[in-house]
């Protein structure tokens, strides 16, 4: 069992500011159902450019819910510029600390805050998080890893896994993570100004997963539902997307056809040209 602080447990049991705001000034969404945790954070400003209302919705474990609840309390009354000074470490400290393995929950809070503030200025933050995918299991890019290493002064691969999940799956990226840590730690000693890497256009795995989920929700599910059926996403392996059918679809003889046609063409249109859809019976 996790060693959670009383404050964390209290925020989990009685989360503050749950819900949505009508006409928010900024909205940030990070994570996805597939990854096991997701956070939607939004805020509204008063006439003096201070955050007067902040709300959240979380799908995740106790520390994810408590981190989001803490975040809303921390930002209210601050200007967006002041709020941006809140680091993931601040969120964890506010709760009296998080278990190391759960630090990624505070990172998720920090990322949602940034995304929300960026969105209030009309910027899509996901573009800035692009980079080369280092951890293929959880879709974490070199830029994300560099940042948590720098901001939290991390020194080991295990640290990086606790903060970002990167390296927590097949472990094949561990050497790469080690070299990122060495590079960042070396740089912070020698030259504080970090060399900017050119962003790659490719989607990270998380972005791809999210995009696939969104596309199924928006483009595919509604039309299946009108026929009394439904679709579930089972797995994504590279460009292969494994789905299955529910309800009326399972009995429909043309279902194999429907899916190949509908799902594949939609996913190719909205995600990438090389998507291949497999239907599990």
């Amino acid at each position: 069992m996790w060693d959670y602080t009383d404050k964390l447990k209290e925020h989990f049991t009685n989360p503050r500011n749950v819900g949505e705001i009508e006409h928010p000034d900024g909205v940030g969404e990070v994570g996805s159902l597939a990854c096991g945790d997701a956070l939607k954070f939004m805020f509204k400003l008063d006439p003096n450019n201070r955050i007067k209302e902040a709300k959240f919705q979380t799908f995740g474990c106790a520390s994810a819910i408590a981190s989001a609840s803490a975040l809303t309390e921390m930002v209210i009354g601050k200007t967006p510029e002041e709020a941006l000074k809140i680091s993931n470490r601040d969120i964890a400290d506010y709760l009296g600390g998080l278990p190391e393995e759960k630090m990624h929950c505070s990172v998720m809070g920090r990322e949602a805050l940034e995304a929300a503030i960026a969105s209030s200025k009309g910027i899509d933050i996901t573009k800035q998080l692009e980079g080369e995918v280092v951890c293929k299991c959880f879709g974490i890019t070199d830029r994300e890893i560099e940042r948590v290493v720098r901001e939290n002064n991390l020194t080991t691969v295990a640290d990086v896994t606790h903060y970002t999940k990167a390296g927590g799956g097949c472990e094949s990226c561990h050497p790469k993570i080690e070299s990122i840590i060495a590079a960042v730690q070396g740089q912070t000693r020698q030259e504080p100004a970090r060399r900017q890497k050119p962003a790659k256009r490719a989607l990270s795995n998380i972005q791809r997963m999210k995009l696939i989920e969104e596309t199924i929700d928006r483009e595919i599910r509604p039309s299946l539902r009108t026929d009394g059926g439904d679709i579930d996403l089972i797995d994504i392996e590279g460009t292969k997307v494994l789905v299955t059918l529910r309800g009326a679809c399972t009995a429909c003889p043309s279902s194999g056809f429907t899916l190949k046609g509908l799902v594949q063409s939609k996913l190719r249109e909205f995600v990438s040209d090389d998507i291949e859809v497999l239907v599990e019976s």
Partner: protein, 386 residues
């Protein structure tokens, strides 16, 4: 606070009769069963009795029982012991949904000069026998398939599997840790060569297990040293725990009918009522071939750890296959192997009953679980999206 313990597939309460039986063998009768004097002799007698009781539960000969320290040791003894006896056979067959005690051992071995086949399961967690027939060859030293799955409770067709293995001339091991005491077993009529069981899953303490070894089965010892267990498992006998396991086996034999009537009925009622009260829920695993005490449910849009902690605050103990509860970042390998959709894996909840579960426990859970799911869905960004 009321406590409702519904995590009996993780571990069980030690039966009071078992504790009572064990206690004198710590400070009063502390002799070594190997000693020639009366002090050891009286202890040796009790170890013989315990072995007989375990043998009765499995309907086998007492000489076919080796006491071990736990289920994992039984599994390791079975696999390594068989591989050691057939040095020319370098192939192992197992399933993707095995307990880590088998799966991680097989994966470890397959990095060291062995080849392994992991059989897939279908959406209901069932094996396809045709896959097995294809996988087992002349070079297969051992086939290790669990009797019943610890997460879903799905029971595999063990005798049919055993027959296929036998026809191919390979050794058949089953990890029956979850099945013993819940399903009637008869080794005299079985095709099983090796069977692992664990004390703490059937109301004996943690730290004791056993391995059934069919007469005539070649088995190289895993722990080498003294003559104990006929040289098949060295080390001074853990006397009080062996006596405890014997008592637990005796009780299990008496309670097995209750397991398949009263406990099954409570499980079915719990499952049906929860499905009725919670929308967007599914049962994971085949409901026909299933342990009588287990249900594995998935609640969409919520995460398992959150469910467990809120249940725990109400005094209800359960478990989940969600990534956040595992200590690793990967969700249940069993549910993933079954192709349970992402949206359901993270919200999985396993409820497992025992002889000590009461109707009041079930009522209490039926009353307290649905509001928790509802509340978490209100927090979730996905909860109201449909």
């Amino acid at each position: 606070m009321k406590t409702v313990y519904l995590d009996n597939n993780a571990t069980t309460r030690v039966a009071p009769e078992v504790v009572e039986e064990m206690l004198p063998y710590f400070s009063d009768y502390y002799g070594n069963p190997s000693s020639m004097h009366y002090f050891g002799g009286q202890v040796e007698k009790k170890v013989v009795e315990a072995r007989e009781k375990v043998a009765q539960l499995l309907n086998c000969d007492p000489a076919e029982i080796i006491f071990t320290s736990c289920g994992t040791e039984s599994d390791s003894t079975a696999l390594r012991g068989t591989l050691g006896s057939y040095p020319d056979k370098k192939h192992i067959v197992t399933s993707r949904v095995e307990h880590p005690a088998v799966l991680n051992l097989v994966r470890h071995l397959s990095k060291n000069s062995y080849d392994a086949a992991e059989l897939p399961v279908d959406r209901k967690g069932r094996l396809t026998l045709a896959d097995l027939e294809q996988s087992v060859t002349d070079t297969t030293a051992i086939v290790s398939i669990m009797y019943a799955n610890n997460e879903t409770g799905v029971v595999f067709p063990i005798e049919e599997i055993g027959q296929i293995v036998k026809n191919r001339g390979s050794v058949f091991h089953t990890d029956a840790v979850q099945a013993v005491g819940k399903i009637p077993l008869d080794m005299k009529k079985s095709t099983i060569d090796l069977l692992s069981l664990s004390g703490h899953k059937l109301h004996a303490p943690k730290g004791i297990g056993a391995l059934y070894v069919r007469k005539g089965t070649k088995l190289t010892p895993f722990i080498i040293g003294g003559h104990q267990e006929r040289g098949r498992r060295a080390g001074t006998e853990n006397v009080p725990y062996i006596i405890g396991l014997g008592k637990a086996a005796e009780l299990a034999r008496l309670h097995i009918e209750d397991e398949n009537t009263r406990i099954r009925a409570m499980r079915d009622r719990l499952e049906a009522e929860l499905i009725k009260r919670c929308p967007d829920v599914q049962v994971n695993g085949d409901q026909t071939h299933r342990l009588p005490n287990t249900t594995n449910l998935s609640f969409e849009y919520v995460e398992g750890e959150s469910i467990l902690l809120l249940l725990s605050a109400q005094g209800i103990a359960a478990s989940s296959g969600s990534a956040c509860t595992s200590g690793s970042l990967e969700p249940s390998h069993v549910l993933r192997a079954m192709g349970v959709p992402f949206t359901y894996v993270h919200g999985s909840l396993r409820l497992s009953l025992s002889f000590y579960t009461t109707d009041e426990d079930i009522d209490f859970t039926i009353a307290n679980l649905p509001p928790i799911i509802k509340r978490l869905r209100e927090i979730s960004p996905f909860g109201r999206s449909r």
